[in-house]
Amino acid sequence: MNTNIQEIKDLSIGFKSQKGKQISILRNITTNIRKGETVGIVGESGSGKSTLALAMMGYIKHGLFTTGGECLFKSQDLLSLNNKELEDIRGRKIAMIPQNAGQALTPNLKIGYQIEEALKLHTDFSKAKREQKISELLNQVRLPSPSIMALRYPHELSGGQQQRVAVAMALAGNPELLLLDEPTTGLDVTTQAHVLELLKDLAKDTGTSMVYVSHDLGAIAQVCDRVIVMYSGEIVLEGPVRKILKEPIHPYTYGLLKSIPKLSLSGLPDSMPGSQPQPGNIGSGCSFYDRCNFSSDECKFKVPELEYLSEIDTSVRCFNHSELISKTSEQKITNELKKEIIIDEILDLKDVSISYAKQGIIDQFLNKVTDTNPTVKDINININKGETIALVGESGSGKSTILKSIAGLLKTKDGYIKFNKEKLLSGDLKKRNSDDLRSIQLIFQNPDESLNPNHTVEQILSQPLKLYFGLTGNKLKSSIAELLKKVRLGAFYMSRYPRQLSGGEKQRIAVARAFAARPDIILCDEVTSALDVSVQAAVLDLLQKLKEELGTTYVFVSHDLAVVKAISDRVAVLYQGRLCEIGPSKDVYQFPSHPYTEVLIGAVLEPDPDIRPKLVAEDIVEEKPPEIGCSFQGRCPRILGDKCRNETPPWQFGDNGNAIRCHIDIEELKIQQS
């Protein structure tokens, strides 16, 4: 009997470029999905993983076409079926859970209708039975009060809820194979952990085969039995999850795993040079040749075949994989951060609160304070020269808001920000003098948005140089070349436009622009979250090197606790615009910690199938901080009762230097958490 539910044979997919050249996105993919197993497909953006997942449903995007191979679902080639036949398979036999459920749910139709539609198409239930089934499904994906939920429109739900609805919709047809395309990307850390938990339980309960597509090895490690690693349109490694994640025998996977920051390790992860080649730019040899540390001459001209090693049930596409087997046991990080912080305060945030609420005309006239509950409140942070302080929290925690107010883009409502111990920084950008402006520079999350698309790299970098130092002519040019060198880019990048650069290169330009001002402080707003993992490590490494060289202070905002742990000296944890905990990063990650920090750390997904996340709090989305009491009262798993609801918690200091804002006695927390 055939135990494979889907067999992909020699599948190639490509498109025609504007010049009529045929460019391939997937090349000779051959693999099987077995009944009842969960297979992870992992790769960076552009590796072709989503295209492969869609092909598994017989769906080829507009503009793409297959250039060979077949996609057999139960021995039936999906790519040769007509639309009518596919309609019977899609949703009923194979269902998809999309990446961004917020955009994948039709906006004008109610949740209930969209689930019922799937039921109508794929079951012969009566109307009453269908309604009952909708409630059942919504219950199954753990959505509260299904009958009310069914009457809502997609935009009325939070991101996590939308994702759950998408899961319910996929389950409606009772499919034999479930495809998940980055189902948790874009969700907050705690929500992501909860959705993954749900998916894992569903796989166990229903026995459905699953294909889980993701760039996140942490998520893959949690749910998958087997992993397929893709690189620029090819499978480079395939095998059982433990083998792949613990003893990767392909140089790419090996490098990728080393480049992921982990909670269990301290210091910066190793970085991989370069970036994945664009489709159409792949040389004649191995596609990973340019970035590989293990390459031989053979790799340059010959494409390695996918080789099956029966003793470890793994397929690998590499000539030199045997060299790696000995290497993989060592998993130590050597790039410990240099930690020589002189206690010399550079920035002092005192009782800062920031409000987005606009005052009405009448209140303005009467000079009335209307907003008693500002977005950000009571922020007290001292930042020392040369340190990296991280602000951590989920979306809505106010971390970027604080950054903006330091930069002078938002006025503080109360409190002050002091620079270099004596200078008060005005909340109004126009009132800051040129030197203060120069001293504080910003790097943004998304370089696509932060670099002017109509400027060349030269124009972009000349802006701060002209503004602050009045450079012109050849002096300007050589300064720009020097800056590019600093961020490890050649001077020939000068004439390029942002659209001609890869994501990592763009972010390097943004870094160069910030350093052009020779600032004392650089504010980094989620600077690596738009980048691929292998590129992220390189950018983190660059930031660290520049800091060691120039003594710059970083204020580093991120939602990713592992990244924060890797780069920062101190961490401040924020929830709903209020500080929960602050301290040296090595201590914040140890107990006792604030219950919210505990929740965050518990939800981190490590790329290791043996480390499971601990889910301690519900992933409710709160829209507003509570007026009185502790900011975390709504979700705290250790809530004491009225005291937490009515009184602002006091600061308590742990033995190892971290400060926690909580009503629970710190000794008590220590006992509870250990």
Binding site: L54, L86, E87, M96, P107, N108, M169
Partner: protein, 318 residues
């Protein structure tokens, strides 16, 4: 939601108020007042004095504006110099005739535009799309006086199927009017349909490329069900406002078409009153045409608000 509707309504009224100011000030600052313009060389002596008295030109401008605006709100537009009668009497039958013409064009145009727009979008870059889109580009770019003239030349003169020029008194019944309006309606509907079909097309194409349509396909929703349930409601919603703007804009084009066909509607009244330099009538027409424009947009806003669940719940929640 009611607040939003109310707000749109007030904004419409504010726009109309500004329009009344513009038309009034416009007529004031242009050289010559209503009487000297109208009487031209005879603008002296008794005739001029009578005219000035008649229009109240002897009182200060701001007072005149207030009394004029007050009368307009009451529905009284004043006195037509060329017609020697109340403007309301001149306007009545003209509005009726234009309304017949415009509504006939809209009734034909909108459904046709929807169908053509959807067909061209669904068969994008295939034969039906290429043919319809090419015809659409021609019919929307060629000025209405050219297409109208060609229609008369071909249908009325060469083929002799329909009357080319409308020769009817201003107060005919609807059925007497009917054969006469076929050509003008075609001329107007052609341009309108072409514009709207193009917008519908691009809106549908945009929605077809969205994540939720891909999801619907992957869910196994049959093609036509997907088109009607998932695509069209989302594609047509944003098109409503643009369609309204197109209709309103075409009011200007109707003027020319009415002249070509000698049709006794508001458009020809525009030309007549300007040729006669009958400024009170011009002012009245300005206000009326602007009100039509504002009302069409207001209706479009209402429709969008009522049909868009996003806007509906956004307001009730806050």
């Amino acid at each position: 939601m009611f607040f939003l509707i109310f707000k749109r309504f007030i904004l419409g009224l504010v726009t109309l108020f500004i329009v009344s100011l513009i038309t009034f000030i416009g007529v004031e600052i242009l050289p010559g007042d209503a009487c000297t313009s109208y009487l031209e060389r005879e603008a002296f002596g008794e005739a001029l004095a009578a005219c000035i008295k008649r229009l109240g030109l002897d009182i200060p401008a701001h007072e005149r504006y207030i009394s004029w605006a007050y009368n307009v709100i009451q529905g009284d537009f004043g006195y037509s110099l060329s017609g020697q009668m109340q403007i309301n009497e001149v306007l009545g039958p003209r509005i009726k005739n234009s309304l017949v013409l415009a509504s006939a064009a809209i009734i034909i145009g909108i459904p046709l535009a929807l169908i053509l727009g959807i067909i061209t979008a669904l068969w994008r870059d295939k034969m039906p799309d290429i043919i319809i889109s090419t015809v659409a580009i021609f019919s929307m770019t060629i000025p209405e006086f050219i297409s109208a003239t060609l229609l008369i030349l071909i249908v009325a003169i060469w083929l002799e199927w329909l009357p080319g020029i409308v020769i009817v008194p201003t107060d005919v019944t609807f059925f007497e009017l009917l054969p006469n309006i076929i050509l003008p309606v075609i001329a107007i509907a052609m341009i309108m349909t072409a514009h709207m079909a193009r917008m519908v097309r691009s809106s549908v194409i945009q929605v077809m490329a969205s994540d939720y349509i891909q999801m619907a396909i992957l869910k196994g929703v049959p093609y036509w069900k997907m088109v009607f349930k998932h695509v069209l409601p989302n594609a047509l919603l944003p098109a409503i406002n643009v369609v309204a703007l197109t209709i309103a804009w075409l009011l200007g084009g109707v003027v020319v078409t009415e002249v070509v066909f000698n049709y006794p509607g508001l458009g020809r009244l525009v030309i007549e009153s300007i040729s006669n330099r009958d400024l009170p009538v011009v002012q009245a027409l300005g206000i009326i045409l602007a009100s039509i424009y504002v009302s069409i947009n207001f209706i479009a806003d209402l429709l969008t608000l009522m049909l868009n669940p996003r806007l509906k719940t956004l307001q009730t929640r806050k």
